[in-house]
């Protein structure tokens, strides 16, 4: 019961943080840019000044007493609603799903920001999730091996690998992977793995004609499975390998370091000696007694790693031409599509804060000494 109270408290805190963030982002964008930028997602090029002014008023950016659109653009005194007033209207709009039209070149004004974002978001999520999976599946065992073979060869090798992991520039690592697996390892004239994109038909192990899939969840890999289209599923999976590995490499390095040091710390503890003295097998001692304690510090980093992964997709998507929102964010930056960027920031923040909350609860369950 107390756990639920704790969770609710943290949830409320989470909402508070999100509000704070929205204010921060709002001020950063609307406060530092001329007010007509706020209009852009809601007007079409063919609108005349009167129409624009009325939209500006409906957004609570221009006051009702503002005489003309030109006066508004010139920011004449008495024409612009103070920022906090703009904020409340903005908040009402976004919470009801009104994010305006996208400004992205080619589709400006024809598609809503929300749709543009969420049609590409599944690709980013797939990438981030796979990256997270790789980070955990490789990073944690690497740290364990390091700690249990302390100062012997596996430890040295693992440490070099993990040092390389978190020292390497991700874009460079991605490029190296591409050069090796697409340029240099070639079979029948095509690279072993795809160089870019979320689905490629021109790699050695790709199917040349994967067909189409239905749309169930918007996540290509899941939809492919749901449609029973195995070639598509495989091609999509293969295309994920290099980008996800590039995304994960820094986290692998960081995670294995943390696990290594906390495992070594745990293995030094007195309860390990008692466990051994009870005649327990080494595997039991390491995985039950030491690891349970050693994973606690690693769990606390999970929230940070999520933030890192969700930010890192931007670079990865550029290197691998991945059709997710990270790629789009840069285009949005070029055309000053503030709404898109705000949406991206807030959605990412919700995910990160939610994961932090989950991690806190998980930690409280794992460590019985924690009081809440």
């Amino acid at each position: 019961m107390k756990l639920i109270v704790y969770a609710i408290r943290r949830l409320l805190l989470m909402v508070l943080v999100l509000f704070g963030l929205s204010i921060l982002i709002f001020y950063l964008t609307r406060g530092l840019l001329p007010p007509n930028f706020a209009l852009a997602p809601y007007v079409t090029p063919r609108m005349d000044d009167a129409a624009r002014l009325s939209i500006a008023r409906s957004l609570d950016v221009a006051t009702s007493s503002c005489p003309s659109y030109t006066a508004f653009v010139d920011q004449q005194a008495g024409c612009i609603v103070p920022l906090w007033g703009q904020y409340f209207k903005w908040l009402t709009n976004v919470l009801s799903g009104n994010w305006g039209y996208t400004l992205l070149p080619g589709i400006a004004g024809t598609d809503s920001t929300l749709h543009v974002f969420f049609s590409r978001f599944p690709y980013t999520v797939e990438l981030a999730l796979t990256g997270a999976f790789l980070a955990i599946a490789i990073g944690i065992p690497l740290g364990i091996v390091s700690a249990t073979h302390n100062n012997r060869l596996p430890d040295h090798v693992a440490r070099i690998f993990s040092l390389g992991g978190y020292s390497v520039p991700q874009f460079w690592f991605g490029a190296i992977l591409q050069i090796v697996f697409v340029l240099y390892i070639r079979v029948n004239g095509v690279g072993l793995l795809p160089a870019s994109g979320a689905l490629s038909t021109t790699c050695t192990i790709c199917f040349a004609d994967p067909g189409t899939i239905g749309t169930f969840t918007g996540f290509p890999i899941i939809d492919a499975l749901a449609s029973g289209n195995i070639p598509y599923f495989w091609d999509a999976l293969v295309a994920l390998i290099l980008p996800a590995l590039t995304l994960a490499i820094t986290s692998i390095g960081a995670l294995s370091r943390i696990v290594r040091s906390s495992m070594m710390e745990a293995l030094r503890q007195d309860y390990i000696i008692l466990a051994q003295s009870k005649g327990l097998k080494d595997r039991l001692v390491v995985y039950k007694h030491a690891l349970r304690n050693a994973l606690l510090p690693a769990v606390t980093v999970a929230g940070l790693l999520t933030a890192y992964l969700l930010g890192g997709v931007v670079v990865i998507e550029i290197v691998f031409s991945w059709p997710g929102v990270g790629n789009t964010a840069l285009v949005a930056a070029e055309v000053l599509d503030i709404n898109f960027l705000e949406l991206y920031v807030l959605v990412t923040a919700v995910i990160i804060v939610a994961i932090n909350l989950g991690v806190d609860i998980l930690y409280a369950k794992l460590d019985p000494r924690v009081t809440y």
């Binding site: 309860y271 008692l274 051994q276 009870k278 039950k288 000494r369």
Partner: protein, 370 residues
């Protein structure tokens, strides 16, 4: 000689030398330890901090750290040479024959696992090994035939069929193990054992935690119990309770106990024989009363003299001059000679062997060499 003394020793340590390789140098921790533990006895092992008592017990259990080097000597447990065993064989011995109880139950119990988890894992790791004991125990609990409720009668039938070679399911084994563990907790006088199983170490008091550690040892029905400063971390009243428990337990269990401590009072309460250790050597070994009434080694005499006594006319604290030697550069010959009031010519040159000077009373001192 009693029947007990006739049986061979359960533990025999001969000329054990252990050196620790540290970055500061080589610490010559054990300098030829000779010790025997008889079946069923409680042997006290006393000495100051750093004299090598813990190292000795860890060596017996095969738990020395990686930087320890066993230079020479033998350790024989019930006839088997421990030092020649593989890691796996020693581990088996720890599971069935040798049990250790340590000093501070707070740090020696895993804080994130329940007491039950840490007790049951001993059994569930290799259930076949413990199954006969579990079955036998439960049968004893149920009681003799004819006196019990019908449900228990069915259970007895089931247990008998298992003992004749039947294969119990995993749930059955867990249930039996749990019953066994609960009764062991009762054996160490823990109130409400069922509840304790689901508690975490930090929820228990110091005395209760120590009883849990003792229970962990008893569960295995060891031949040899090594209690390393078992009561040192407890306050005096709890200490008395634990010692009382030990006294009661030794009638119930069939193990030999080595009680390692620096507290002479503790030794006087529970032990049959006492070994005094100094700087990596056993310097005196005798029955408890014999040692206290007629200490032979100068170190023992100094130790006993320094115990503050209410009924003594002395008003000043007597202590042994000098300080414990640095085992990186231990004294030559008899390691006690720099502090010994009776040291003479040969002492710095010859390490005195442990010899029987009176029946049942051994000393390692050149004063008694003939």
């Amino acid at each position: 000689m009693t029947a007990r003394e006739e049986a061979g020793p359960i533990l025999k340590i001969s000329d054990l030398r252990v050196t620790f390789h540290t970055y500061a140098g080589d610490v010559k921790a054990l300098n030829g330890v000779d010790l025997t533990v008889r079946k069923g006895e409680v042997l006290g092992l006393v000495g100051e901090s750093g004299c090598g008592k813990s190292v000795t017990s860890l060596a017996v259990a095969g738990l020395l750290p990686p930087n320890a080097e066993l230079e020479s000597g033998t350790i024989t447990l019930a006839g088997a040479d421990i030092l020649k065993m593989s890691r796996e064989e020693i581990r088996q011995k720890r599971l069935t024959d040798i049990a250790m109880v340590f000093q501070d139950p707070m740090t020696y119990l895993n804080p994130v696992l329940t007491v039950g988890s840490q007790l049951l894992e001993i059994i569930t790791q290799e259930p076949k090994l413990f199954l006969p004991a579990l079955v036998r125990h439960r049968l004893e609990e149920i009681g003799p035939e004819g006196k019990e409720a019908p449900a228990l009668a069915a259970e007895r039938e089931r247990l008998l069929s298992i003992s004749r070679g039947g294969r119990p399911g995993r749930k059955e084994v867990e249930r039996l193990a749990r019953q066994y563990v609960v009764s062991t907790l009762r054996q160490v006088r823990l109130p409400d054992p069922e509840k304790v199983l689901d508690m975490y170490p930090f929820e228990l008091s110091g005395g209760m935690r120590q009883r849990v550690m003792i229970a962990m040892a008893l569960v295995r029905r060891p031949k040899l119990l090594l209690a390393d400063e078992m009561t040192t971390a407890l306050d005096v009243t709890v200490q008395a309770q634990i010692l009382q428990l030990l006294r009661e337990l030794r009638k119930e269990i069939d193990a030999s106990i080595v009680l390692i401590t620096h507290d002479l009072a503790v030794v006087a309460e529970v032990c049959d024989r006492v070994a005094v250790m100094y700087a990596g050597n056993i310097v005196e070994l005798a029955g408890v009363e014999e040692l206290y009434s007629d200490p032979l080694h100068p170190y023992t005499k100094g130790l006993l003299a320094s115990i503050p006594r209410v009924d003594s006319a002395r008003t000043r604290q007597v202590s042994i001059g000098g300080s414990v030697p640095n085992l990186l550069f231990p004294p030559s010959g008899c390691r006690f000679h720099p502090r010994c009031p009776k040291a003479f010519g040969k002492c710095p040159q010859v390490k005195p062997p442990l010899v029987e000077v009176k029946p049942g009373h051994l000393v390692a001192c050149l004063l008694y060499e003939e």
